[in-house]
Amino acid sequence: MKVKVVTNILEANDRIAAENKKIFHEAGIYVINIMSGPGAGKTSLLEKTIAEFAGKTKIGVIEGDIAGSDDAERIEKLGIPVIQINTGGGCHLDANMIRELLDDLPLKDLDLLIIENVGNLVCPAEFKLGEDMNVMLLSIAEGHDKPLKYPLMFQESSALILNKIDLLPYTNVDMEKIRKDSLSLNPKLKIFEVSCRTGAGIGEWTNWLQSFVK
């Protein structure tokens, strides 16, 4: 007998993500999900962002990594609540991983929760976590061909942060092409150019982010 099913295979994840989002909203927390390839500077961006928000906004962090707790240790030094998730080989975070650690976060005391996804330009874009906004980080040394090679992540993000602009004199990267292709894929994308090493451009990014956090 033929049965018509028509169910999205990611339905279970999307359902849990929607529940997470409800819990975050009830607690008055704005949630961003930061995605990038490995080594683009996600944790450095977090450190700079946390420093800019110090004393103004109460931040919590979830660190997603395949293994290790190096990133969480870096964030912990800044004196804010952080939880490390090790996916044990898994290439992305999913909604259920976030759900399982909600009890370990001081939700009532937070204004902004930043989730640092596993370093990977493909899979994290497919799994909703319960975030309000996806932010993509691309270091310019990765090359200007990335938007068209990994279109999904550019399409799913509200902001694109181009990091390591201090390296511009040493690369052949075509910044205009990155902008043009990214905006072709996603005309609403907000683009920032920063250097987490020198601090250039960080203020513009954090001012913009601040406008979403209550």
Binding site: M1, K2, V3, K4, V5, V6, T7, N8, I9, L10, E11, A12, N13, G90, C91, H92, D94, N120, V122, C123, A125, E126, L148, P151, L152, Q155, D181, S184, L185
Partner: protein, 114 residues
């Protein structure tokens, strides 16, 4: 890259549906995978074959229909589809005002149970 977890989700939904209808064996499952979904059909097929063993889908055949990225161009008023996993301009007129309508599918479409 995570086709195993997608195949696991697919199997769970299929088995769940089969049980709900009061049947005990899945003969076939048809899924639609968009070219922009990030899923590689061959990897999904491989993962499914490995995971179905010992379940009520043990003897089932998985058919994957790949759906191209396509949409409707508001400038030339025509439907289009492209070979790439993205579209930045209409392949018919070069226009940049369009709606993408297909290519992100990751759905179980239908299945045969017994």
């Amino acid at each position: 890259m995570h086709e195993v977890s997608i195949a696991q989700g697919l199997l769970e939904i299929a088995i769940d549906n089969c049980k709900k209808q009061g049947y005990t064996r899945i003969d076939s499952i048809k899924v639609k995978v968009g070219k922009a979904s990030g899923i590689v059909p061959d990897s999904l097929q491989f993962a499914f074959e490995a995971l179905k063993t010992g379940t009520m889908a043990d003897k089932s055949v998985l058919t994957i229909e790949e759906i191209p990225v396509g949409g409707f161009c508001k400038e030339c008023d025509k439907k289009f589809s492209v070979d790439e996993a993205y579209v930045i301009s209409c392949p018919l007129c070069g226009g940049t005002s369009f709606n993408v309508e297909t290519g992100r599918e990751l759905n179980i479409d239908e299945m045969e149970v017994n």
